[in-house]
């Protein structure tokens, strides 16, 4: 199956700074993929290139089977919502309003759903006649989300779409994204730092670190990939013997060890009999590892390839 989004040897340099370094990527059609990584990892640059707003230094990208840059057939089927989206604001009168932005978007997207847009504005408590320059950061995010979802574009790219949104509004976004995705499946690539909060959305996860893809896998395969085993030192040592270990910590007679690999039902039974607690690492913890982790921690890629 041809992926909806792919990158081959994609590199982007600004003078001597390498922002994307030989990125290879393939994202299947009609999936929700999390694009994760630290600040400055290259996520926004990747999304801008996919959205045709930036150009690669070398390598290539394809969206819906063709290069997106200056390709009208691709671009009209793609929407990119950026955290730092600029609107045509003016000082003083007249004001570029929420309604202006949505009307402009309605011209550009053949599948634009005005009812969905109105419903989302209501959910977010955003008035259509409000000037964009007077919106709070969260309200600007709400406008971006409304535009991105109501466009119903075949490829929807969200770059940190909910910066400044409160927890309730973020939950509205997750719920509405899933509901609309179920009705109109599309390829969604969502960059976020709120990893555990959004984890349930993702079918796939791509982690970028310092411009390189360090993890590209199905989210289901990632869940349960590593587990923290904690309890008495002797029992922990017995249980973890012969298994790949990421991290080992001890405090008196207690120990806590992170092991790599799936835990079988037999393993669980044995842990129970030894009085051990088994806690799977969250997606966020795995991403921290993949991104180099805290000082002293081994990298996910190194360990998993070992």
């Amino acid at each position: 199956m041809t992926p909806a989004i792919s990158a081959t040897g994609l590199t982007r340099k600004y003078y001597d700074q390498v922002v994307l370094d030989d990125v290879h990527l393939a994202i299947g059609a009609r999936t929700i993929t999390g694009l994760l990584g630290r600040n400055g990892a290259g996520k926004t640059t990747l999304l801008r290139i996919l959205g045709g707003q930036e150009f690669p230094s070398s390598g290539s990208v394809q969206v819906l089977g063709a290069a997106p840059a200056e390709n009208e057939d691709v671009l009209r089927r793609l929407v990119l919502i950026r955290e730092d989206q600029a609107y045509p604001d003016y000082q003083g009168y007249p004001n570029f309003k929420v309604s202006h932005a949505l009307r402009a978007a309605s011209f550009c997207y053949p599948n634009w759903d005005p009812d969905l847009a109105s419903s989302l504005l209501e959910d977010f408590g955003l008035r259509a006649n409000k000037a964009i320059k007077s919106l709070s950061r969260g309200q600007r995010s709400a406008l971006g989300i409304t535009t991105g979802l109501a466009a119903r574009a075949e490829v929807t790219l969200f770059d940190e779409p909910y910066a400044g949104l409160d927890a309730v509004a973020r939950q509205i976004f997750y719920d509405r994204l899933l509901a609309d995705y179920a009705d109109f499946p599309r390829t969604v690539l969502l960059s976020t730092h709120l990893i555990d909060e959004a984890a349930a959305l993702f079918e796939n996860v791509v982690v970028i670190d310092r411009g390189r893809v360090v993890l590209d896998t199905a989210a289901d395969g990632l869940r349960g990939m590593a587990t923290t085993v904690s309890g008495p030192v002797l029992a922990v040592n017995s249980f973890t013997e012969g298994r790949p270990v990421w991290e080992r910590r001890g405090l008196g007679s207690q120990a806590s060890v992170v092991i790599v690999g799936q835990i079988s039902p037999e393993d669980r039974e044995r842990a129970r009999s030894l009085g051990l607690d088994l806690t799977p690492l969250s997606l966020q913890q795995l991403v921290v590892r993949a991104s180099g982790g805290p000082p002293g921690a081994g990298s996910l890629t190194e360990r998993t390839s070992a």
């Binding site: 801008r48 959205g51 045709g52 707003q53 930036e54 150009f55 200056e70 390709n71 009208e72 671009l75 009209r76 089927r77 793609l78 929407v79 990119l80 919502i81 950026r82 989206q85 600029a86 609107y87 045509p88 604001d89 003016y90 007249p94 570029f96 202006h100 932005a101 009307r103 402009a104 978007a105 011209f107 550009c108 997207y109 574009a153």
Partner: protein, 227 residues
């Protein structure tokens, strides 16, 4: 073509900014001229609308391009659609200027002996000549403004200064070459209020050619603009 019209419609979501502001500004200048009374002296008030078309061209790129690209419009379509809007506005505005010039003539300068829509040499002929010259001049300034906006977006203030410097050098070189060829230092040196060598329609042709150069230059510059 659909994409160009889509872009033109995008610009028109706030019609007052693109259509109303140049004329509202001109109306203000006209009111000041009328209040000062009519001594039949040309006060160059009409130049304001040409200046506003330049500013509008700059703003259509500087302020409207980033959101336009976010909405899945290519740079090429954005450029063509914006230029289409500017040329259409110029066509209509040129006609309005020709109409207002006719009224000014018929009413003896709006009953106040004002010379506002008649510009000696340039816009002082039959209505169709005024229409053509206004249309070409307004289009030229709009497209020229777009090019400035694109240069600023692509290379920032440094690029803008370099762009201006190059134009000054080109103008000096052309002037020097013309002078050396025996044509005189200035193309439009007045002699009894008239240019020495070029008719108003001839000048319109020169401006039209420069507009084509600006269109090609802007198109070449926008191709690698990023937002």
């Amino acid at each position: 073509m659909n994409a160009m019209i889509k872009v033109a419609r995008y610009h028109l979501v706030m019609p007052v900014m693109v259509l109303g502001l140049p004329w509202a500004t001109l109306a203000g200048v006209f009111a000041v001229n009328a209040a000062q009374g009519g001594d039949k002296a040309f006060r160059a008030g009409l130049v304001v609308i040409f200046g506003m078309f330049f500013v509008t061209g700059v703003q259509r790129i500087g302020r409207w391009l980033p959101f336009g690209l976010a909405l899945g419009v290519s740079r090429r379509s954005f450029y063509a659609g914006t230029a289409l809007l500017g040329v259409s506005m110029s066509l209509v505005s040129g006609l309005v200027i020709a109409g207002l010039q006719g009224i000014e003539r018929a009413t003896g300068g709006w009953g106040l002996s004002i010379t506002f829509f008649r510009v000696p040499y340039l816009l002082n002929g039959p209505w169709y000549a005024t229409w053509l010259t206004s249309f070409v001049g307004l289009s030229a300034l709009f497209v020229y403004g777009m090019w400035y906006g694109i240069v600023n977006r692509r290379w920032g203030m440094f690029g803008l200064l370099a762009f201006i410097a190059v134009q000054v050098l080109v103008a000096l070189a052309v002037s020097f070459a013309y002078s050396r060829s025996g044509g005189g230092a200035l193309l439009l040196r007045p002699a009894d209020g008239h240019p020495a060598t070029l008719s108003a329609l001839g000048l319109t042709g020169v401006i039209a050619a420069l507009t084509v150069v600006c269109l090609a230059g802007g198109h070449a510059t926008i191709r690698r603009v990023t937002v």
